[in-house]
Amino acid sequence: MPVDELRLEAELHEVRDRIRMFELDRREFLRLCTGGLLVSLVSGGALLEAQESGRRFGGHALPQEVSAWIHIDADGKVTVFTGKVEIGQNIRTSLAQSVAEELRAPFDSITMVMGDTDLVPWDAGTFGSRTTPTMGPQLRTMAMNAREMLVEAAAERWKADPAKLVAEDGRVTNPATSASLGYGEITRGEKLTRTVVGDPALTPATEWKVAGTAEPKVNGRQFVTGVHTYPSDVVRSGILFGKVVRPSGYHATLVSADTSAAEKMAGVQVVRDGDFIGVVADDVWTAEQAAMKINAQWKVPPQISNAELFAELKKGAGDDGQSEIAAALANAEVKLEQTYKVAYVAHAPLEPRAAVAEWTDGKLTVWTGTQRPFGVKDDLVQAFRLSPEQVRVLMPDMGSGYGGKHTGECAVEAARLAKAAGKPVKLIWTREEEFTWAYFRPAGVMEIRAGVQKDGTLVAWEHHNYNSGPSGVGTPYKIANPVTRYHEWKDAPLAQGSYRGLAATANHFARETAMDELAQAVGMDPLAFRLKNLDDARLRAVFVTAAERFGWGKEKSTATRGFGIAGGTEKGGYTAACAEVEIGADKTVHVRRLVQAWESGAVVNPDGLRNQVMGAMVQALGGVLFEQIEFANGKVTNAHFADYRVPRFKDTQQIEVILIDRKDLPSAGAGETGIVAVAPAVGNAIFSATGERLREMPMARERS
């Protein structure tokens, strides 16, 4: 199957085929907004995103959808309603900047209401680096329309020509008469509404005054003082604490459970529902003690371990071992055929899954950490056979996700416990639960066959990805008739799903390592070899920028010090990284320096962007060097931070990001693709020092 057709679906393995409905009543919403100006947008963008989310409309006409609203009240306070959520990627700030820019309103007059399913229009979720390229322009379009409406209303009041009026800093002014009205004064007492269709001309990035600047995180002070309420911090009156008794392995069935000891504990309620066993208590500690006293016997079917993973994976994903480019390969002067592997890795967000559920008069309200509030809402509607208007999901800015919080298990569990208890219940997954019962970035095997002429011209290319996914499997290099394929493994042993960058990390690791191997085979410098085979000007630019800043080629590798380079493009972001590694005694690897160039069109917030790209590089180091989920017989055997090593201060010595701001190009998302170039750059650096080619991630196991 061609990769492009598969891509959208395969990127979201964990999003199963559910029908989602948009049920918020706009008239109701309009009633709730007191006087003022309300702009909503009906555009193709929301529709496109609905399709990307894996929603299926079963042949019905696609509904027109409103993607966001902007409201301006009588005091000039601007409220933006969007289904996108803030998980550390800083869109609460960057989206507000975009609105402030087009509205010509002060940045601090803008409040973002995000991810509350009773207040915001339906949204597929916050993933796929879609917020900046999709929601950004939608909000800008609405803000620009709001500005036009305000100018027109002021012009009418003053009997002036709207074209002669100026909107600036939250006011409309008539330069001819010096008359001036704040936005709130213009809207006072009236209800102005407009639904926008189409794509008006937005302010070019070269003229941005608020967007494009390093505006600090809007509510930063709440975070350094501990005041911000994360999902796990939500408190309700009379709240109880829950705990779920977990099966002893995946795909387990409950044989028996003795809950009598737990039931005897003061203030403890045991909740049983089929194979679900949970407890609630007045405090977390008691709930944990009670859960431990439950003696449950489970039957766990035999399952493979990570030692057998790759052999099973190749079989399961239907490897036929046949090259599809045999003819092109036969004519190549130098041939390469190699296999690359990546392990299962965990997202390990520092805030585990958490939910607070409350039932009031048949209505269920859940505060939870998720990248898909409407998806979780649907889960709750289905789990409890409710109608959509009976369920509200709120998503307070949470302790990160990295693609790992698309699902709603914790919300459903908390709601189940709260329903039985008749009181609000908080459930926070333990670290072990988060490591075990969430889902993982898929392991994968990548096979590359390639041919090159002795002068360094690429002549044949074939790249197969088994299981980890199709993202980034295509090659950006000049090559006639490349073959790139993704092979799905339906019986994967672990739940697998989205992750920052998806399979682009694995596929870039394979491709950029193979490119290095080819460069070495024809005796060319790895950068020169890439540039010789690369037409894409944006990708060339990041390669050259990173290399210049790093001082590529200025020093020769030694047995203890190596240099590597790699790059690529995905989701509209272009990146190239240079790595310096030090090989210590007993082959200990230290990544001493990383320099990465990044370009994703016009920069909306350089500080936030730099932070994202740097964070992606740091996270990348974990997968490169030591992150790996170990499992056997349906259990994760390293479900603790003591056993599952993630990057720490000592691993991240010199990390530099160089941003290229292309104000002439639309802004792309940047939360993900910064992760893709680090693995091959580090691997290539290790090779340049040691002559040893590492084709499997993670590359180093920690010595204890």
């Binding site: 998980i87 550390g88 990627q89 800083n90 600090p216 995180k217 930063g220 002070r221 975070f223 350094v224 003082t225 501990g226 005041v227 911000h228 309420t229 994360y230 796990s232 911090d233 408190v235 604490f241 405090d283 977390v284 500690w285 008691t286 003690q289 390990a348 967000p349 520092l350 805030e351 585990p352 800015d397 949470m398 302790g399 990160s400 990295y402 926070i428 333990t430 670290r431 500080d607 936030g608 932070n611 994202q612 740097m614 964070g615 992606a616 590089m617 740091v618 996270q619 603790h640 931070f641 003591a642 993630v646 990057p647 720490r648 201060f649 000592k650 991240t652 990390i655």
Partner: protein
């Protein structure tokens, strides 16, 4: 359940806790101080860091009954009369967070470090902070923030010396 008196952020608070109940849950669920975070419950991530008589301590592994005599400082206790501490200021100025779930623990670990060693080298900062995890990967910014806080303390000392 034992009746405890805990000295938290300069106030004596009366609370009931089970024998082995971690300070973390008492702070968060019984005293309403949710700025202290659960990250792993195993002392590996540092999100639950509080100061006990100034020393950085993992509240997830510390029974509340064991600290009844200590001065406990949580993230909520650093701001004084509406003024942020130098470390809090520095984290804001450097933008040293993304999701910021680790920030409480980071700020307290850094506060303890600077109290003991007002002008740490970069190596000393890394060494002292290495037990605190930031999965978003903002480590270089956190190091910069600690250095900035250290310099701001230095400036204040200098201003003080000049009278």
């Amino acid at each position: 359940m034992a009746e405890l008196k805990l000295n938290v952020n300069g106030r004596v608070r009366q609370v009931q806790a089970a024998q082995d109940e971690p300070l973390l849950w008492v702070l968060r669920n019984k005293l309403g101080l949710t700025g202290t975070k659960y990250g792993c419950g195993e002392g590996q991530c540092g999100a639950c860091t509080v100061l006990l008589d100034g020393r950085p301590t993992r509240s997830c592994l510390t029974p509340a009954v064991a600290v009844a005599g200590a001065k406990i400082t949580t993230i909520e206790g650093l701001e004084q009369n509406g003024r942020l501490s130098p470390v809090q200021e520095a984290f804001l100025e450097e933008g040293a967070f993304q999701c910021a779930y680790c920030t409480s623990g980071m700020v307290l670990a850094a506060t303890a470090l600077l109290a003991e060693k007002p002008h740490p080298s970069e190596g000393e900062i890394v060494e002292a902070m290495n037990g605190n995890m930031c999965r978003c990967g903002t480590y270089p910014r956190i190091v910069a923030a600690v250095r900035r806080a250290s310099l701001s303390v230095e400036k204040k000392e200098a201003a003080h010396a000049r009278g």
